[in-house]
């Protein structure tokens, strides 16, 4: 299918309302990702649009936070988490696979996602809290084993943008 360079759509599209904009459908119909080797594509406004907007818009469209909730993750502020994940889509897969690894170190737990913005530096990150009722020592031991046994390379790769930390909860 030939590539058709068209102006990027405006923000008044149906994104986020359960309906993909036809232009996005067109891009998706070409391929899941525009071909980087195609210089015409690279220089086109549609490619710029894809890079900057498509990921977040499609995620919003597919209601990512609802998917995470269905997956058993509590979310304190869905809008903030959704915005953060749309800006950092590489973290989504990590969050989705985390439960499997956390269950190796924690027996009874719930998961809770929350954004955090540093009050001094303004650095924003995402916290995945492991809610548990273990003693402070046992919970920290399990969390550190999880970090050393699984999370560490990802924590470094994403510059600490996703942190996993235990947190006491009496909801057990």
């Amino acid at each position: 299918m030939p590539f058709i360079a068209t102006p990027p759509p405006t923000e008044s599209t149906e994104f986020g309302k359960g309906k993909l904009n036809p232009q996005v459908q067109l891009i998706y119909s070409i391929s899941n990702k525009p071909d980087m080797s195609n210089s015409a594509l690279e220089s086109s406004c549609v490619f710029d649009f894809w890079k900057s907007n498509l990921t977040s818009k499609v995620l919003t469209d597919y209601n990512l936070t609802e998917t995470l909730v269905e997956y058993g993750i509590e979310i304190s502020d869905k809008e903030e988490v959704s915005t953060f994940l749309s800006e950092n889509p590489d973290l989504i897969e990590l969050i989705l696979i985390s439960k499997k690894y956390i269950s190796k170190y924690f027996e009874d737990f719930k998961l809770q996602l929350d954004t955090h913005q540093d009050s001094i530096d303004g650095f924003q990150s995402l916290n995945l809290f492991i809610l548990n009722n273990l003693t402070a020592e046992a919970a920290l031991k399990a969390e550190r084993e999880l970090f050393r046994g699984w999370l560490l390379p990802y924590y470094a790769k994403f510059d600490g943008k996703l942190n996993i930390r235990e947190k006491y909860s009496n909801a057990f």
């Binding site: 955090h116 540093d118 009050s119 001094i120 530096d121 650095f123 916290n127 402070a136 020592e137 919970a139 920290l140 550190r144 970090f147 050393r148 560490l152 924590y155 470094a156 510059d159 600490g160 942190n163 930390r165 006491y168």
Partner: protein, 116 residues
Amino acid sequence: MPFDWNRYATLADEWKESQRQELLRCSISRAYYAFYNSIRIKKGIPTKKQPHKIVIEKLSENNDPEEIELAKLLKDLQEIREIADYDGVQEIDGRYTERFFTRLTAARELCLEILP
């Protein structure tokens, strides 16, 4: 003569068993700053722009797993401290304080091992 940041740690130890929430909050805050400043000084970082972020980045830059873990623990402590300093809704009780100090002790031990 430079200020001895361990004096903050001494105050924190005096207050951490208190039943008064304001003292528990102060205890967490002072203990954090005593620890943070000790690492900052060991790493030779001045108190200029974004010092917390720079200290955490400095610990992570060598890709040393233990330093990255220390960076993570420091960031955790910073976030827990921020709640004690700024969040008036969250109750800071003995359990919250105990979890902070358990993490701080682990971070101090790791710090002694890798940044003697």
